[in-house]
Symmetry: C2
Subunit: 201 residues, 2 copies
């Protein structure tokens, strides 16, 4: 960067680059924009970050984000206790909630198993999940971890635990996304879509 930025702006640019999808150019644009036009909003943003860091914690039951002891989904009496969906992060809960198709409970892993990074079952809360499965009357465990190598490994690991407890396990379907074109889809996905074919109604 050039000499015309001040040390405080340089530091702000560096910190903005932590945000996902923000490169050097966007970070500079954001920093100058905050200082030039939106000083009130910049102050609001600083407060909102600090506030969220202080107030947001993990639900003691499902590890989703919450501000009380339990998250809003765990607290809701309308949710079906018999179905539990395991996801890798709160973002995934949000994505599934936006479909409005799921009325069961969640368990949010703190990521996925990754032995190479030293991340084992306890680090992502698998022991807590096991305890939850032992204590509650779950009749279906849906594995909705990501279709990556680590996500699949995590799904297999949890499936073993559930099978030991005689809980039926399912995995969300992988295949061609709606609107997707076969010619544009990677062969891994296409292979999943073929293997996962269903009788045509």
């Amino acid at each position: 960067m050039s000499s015309s930025l001040t040390p405080a702006i340089d530091q702000l640019v560096r910190c903005l680059r932590y945000l996902p999808g923000v490169g050097a150019k966007s970070a500079t644009r954001m920093a100058l924009n905050l200082l030039e036009r939106d000083q009130g909003r910049a102050a609001d943003l600083a407060i909102a970050i600090s506030d969220a860091l202080t107030r947001v914690r993990r639900c003691s039951r499902c590890q989703n984000f919450c501000e009380a002891d339990l998250c809003s989904i765990c607290e809701s009496p309308k949710r079906d206790d018999r179905v539990l969906c395991v996801v890798e992060s709160p973002t995934d809960v949000l994505a599934i909630e936006q479909t409005s198709d799921y009325s069961g409970r969640y368990f949010v892993l703190m990521g996925h198993l990754s032995p190479i990074d030293g991340i084992g079952p306890e680090d992502i809360g698998v022991d807590k999940l096991k305890q939850l499965l032992q204590e509650s009357a779950v009749s279906e465990l849906i594995l909705a971890t990501n279709p990556t190598v680590e996500g699949e490994a995590t799904a297999h690991f949890i499936a073993h635990i559930a099978k030991d407890l005689n809980i039926p396990v399912s995995r969300i379907a992988h295949g061609i996304p709606l609107g997707g074109e076969l010619g544009m889809i990677d062969s891994g996905t296409l292979s999943h879509a073929l293997q996962g074919r269903k009788p045509f109604a």
Copy 2:
């Protein structure tokens, strides 16, 4: 947004949307990312914003961002006092500095004239620029405001002042950007490029 975000996260998402180029989806991703993975970095970002808001101010001479009374460019003895380049914002100074082609001084307007928004000459610091032109020995005033309606109007307004003070005025060239294809360029730019043609060396 869904019920699974907490009030503090919702507020953080709202504030992140103030950033240029950040929509609802990116803001949610940024907020969850900050809380999930980068709590230390999130705290750093909050501090960096507050710090920048406290420490960064406008240079008393040229209105560029600085942390002392004068910005680093105004303070530098290596700069050519006879050339003054007028831009709309500190972002533009940064862009011109990155070319390394300019060694004169700058004057940073606080935006551009916009009567419809009630923004007159005093609001963007034209009176200050006039005083600077009267006091210093500027032999060329380069108008580098944006090639928009407001930018052009601002350039014309300042050109009149400079002409009254007998200071030669130039405007940066508008034309086909390097690597641009004529077929892809808007007709306004093409028309500028034709009118601004130069003898071929």
